[in-house]
Symmetry: C2
Subunit: 358 residues, 2 copies
Amino acid sequence: MGLDPLGIPPTDSDGITQEELALATRNRGMPLEALAADITPPGLHYLLIHYDIPFVDAAEWRLRIGGAVESPMSMALHELQAMPSKTLTVTMECAGNGRARLQPRPVSQPWGVEAVGTARWTGVPLRDLLEIANPLAEAVELVFTGADHGTERGVEQDYQRSLPIEHSMQAEILLAYAMNGEPIPAQHGHPMRLLVPGWYGMASVKWLHRIEAVTTPFTGYQQKAYTYHRNETDPGTPVTTIEVRSLMIPPGFPDFLTRRRVVDEGPVELRGRAWAGPVEIERVEVGVNGEWFDATLDDPIGAFAWRGWSAIWTPAPGEHVLTCRATDANGNTQPLNQPWNTGGFGNNAVQTVPVTVR
Amino acid sequence: MGLDPLGIPPTDSDGITQEELALATRNRGMPLEALAADITPPGLHYLLIHYDIPFVDAAEWRLRIGGAVESPMSMALHELQAMPSKTLTVTMECAGNGRARLQPRPVSQPWGVEAVGTARWTGVPLRDLLEIANPLAEAVELVFTGADHGTERGVEQDYQRSLPIEHSMQAEILLAYAMNGEPIPAQHGHPMRLLVPGWYGMASVKWLHRIEAVTTPFTGYQQKAYTYHRNETDPGTPVTTIEVRSLMIPPGFPDFLTRRRVVDEGPVELRGRAWAGPVEIERVEVGVNGEWFDATLDDPIGAFAWRGWSAIWTPAPGEHVLTCRATDANGNTQPLNQPWNTGGFGNNAVQTVPVTVR
C-alpha cells in the first residue's frame, strides 16, 4: 500500500470510511476457498492497483533500459519473448494484507487476510538483459517505472520502485510477460511486469516500460511509503520480503452476511496454505480453541510458492474457534497478536475462523 | 443481494461495518476504467457470490431436469455442448449496485456503482431443452438450483430462483457453458449457469445443476429477498429487469486514497456506457456542474448489452462535478436522487465524478 504512513492518522473507529470502501471495491482479495488450488484460478488472484489500470497496447509498447549503463537499449515485446525464458511459481502478497484488522487502523486499502495469490509467471531473467546493457561500475540501483500515473499525499507520480543492482542480478528476478501460460491480463501489468519473488507485491512493478540505472539510492515516493514505522518518530525499516503466514480454507458453509461457518459433526479435513517469501515453511500448527496440534505438510511446489497443509479434526457439536500458524526455516512463527506499525504493513497475525459444529 | 430486506435494519452510520467490508473484499466491482472495452476484460467483470465458490468437476457434473415434465432428463456437459448453441453479448448488473450510497444504508454487500460487466455468453437455449423435457400443462414455473450452499437470515439453502415457464421459453434464455469463448471460470458458475439477459444478476443462477418444473409459484428465500419494499409494511414488488443507468470512465488520473481526479486543461473526451436491461438506450446526457448536454451514442452492440457514448468537454481550470444520465426507449430516465428501498435494490441514481482541472 502506497500511502505515506506518517501522513494519514490512523483511526480508532470501527467503521470503515467510504474512501476505504471505494478502494475495497476496486481492489480484490482472493476468496479463501481458492486456497484449494496450487495455482490461483484466473480472476481470483489478489489485485492492488494504486491508480487506474493502464490499458497498454502491446504492439506499441517498448522496454527501455538506460541511465548509468554502457549500452542503453530499447526492445519490443516480441524481441523479449524471443529470448530464453524462465517460468516460476510465485506466491505474491500485498504488504498491506491484514491492515483492516489493526486497532487503531491505518487508513488505506482495508485488507482482511485475503490479499494473496499464486501464479506461474514466465519471463526473461532481468540479469540476461543487464548483461547486455551493462550497468556502469558506479551504478548502485535500478529504478523501475510503470505506466500507471496518479497522486498520493499530493505527490504526482508514475509508480516507481528500485532494487539494488546486486539483487537485480539474482536468477529469480524476471521481466514477466505471461501469467499462467497466457499474456498477463491488463490488471496484472500487461504486457510486462517486474517480478521480485519472495517480496511483497509493491516491488513487482506492473506495466513496466523503463529501467534506469542510478548512481545514488532512489528515494522516490513508493520507496519511502513502504516502510515499517513503529510510531511517528521511528525512522523505520523498509518493507521487503514476505513475512511467514498461513491461511485455512474456512470449513463447512457460510452465512451470507457474517461469513460465519457451520460444519457438520464428524471428521473434517482442514486444509490451507503457508508461505514465508523466499524462506521454506517448516511447520504448520492448527489451533482449536487455543490448543495447538501439528498439520501435515504437502510437498513444496516451488521455492517462492506457498505450501499446502492439512489436518483431520473431529469436533464435538458446539462453538469452536479455529486458527493456524506457520513457522519458517529461520524459526519465525506467526504472532497471535497484531504487529502494529503506522502503515499497517506485514500484519501476519494468525487468522481466526469461528465455526458452529452441529 | 440476497438478504431478506425486512430482516436487517438499515444503518444511519457513515461507517461501513467489518461484516460489510468482508463482503466487499470477497465480491468484486468492475474498475470503471474497464468501461473503455465493449466486452469486460477477463477478471474484471463484477462478481457477487452469496456463499462459497463451489469448484465443480465438469466431468462428474450433470444437468437434471425433472418435476412436472413429461420426460425427465439428465445430461452431461459434452452432450449439452453438442447441441446447437447461441452466443449473446449481455450486460449484467447486481441488483444491489448503488446500495452503499443510500442513506440510511441497508446492511449487505456495500456496492458503490461498479457492480456491472459485459460478456459474450455461449450456451444452449433453454427452450430447446424444454421442448425435449416437455413441461406438463399444469407447470407454471421452473426452479433453478445452483451448487452453492449457505445460510441467510437463518435459512439454510442451496441458491435457488425460479422463472415463469413463459419467460423460460424466450429465445434469449441460455444455459451457458462459455464466457468470452472460454469455459466459464469457477467464480462465474462453472461449468454451467443460467443466463437471463436483461434481468439483474440474481436471476442468472450460477453452478446450475437442477431444473424442476413446479405447479405452484416458487416462494423460496431468494425469490422473496429480491423484492422492492419502500418501507417495512410495503408488500413489495419483485426485482426483475435492470433499470436504466449510465456510467462514465472517470477522466484524468486519480489520487490513490480519495480517487479524486485531476484533469489537464484542454478538450477532454468523456466516454462511458449506458444500459437498461432489455430496453434500448435512447439518450445519454452529460452533466457539468448541473448543466446538461447531449452525448453521442455509439452503435449498439447487442439487444441486452450496454451502449457506448462520448462527449467532448473543454473545461476551464478549477473544480467541476461531472455526471451522466441515460434515458431508455420507454422514457425512463435516471433519477438525480436515490430511489430508496429496504433492500437497497435498483439504485440507479446518477454517478457523480468531482474533478480538478489544472
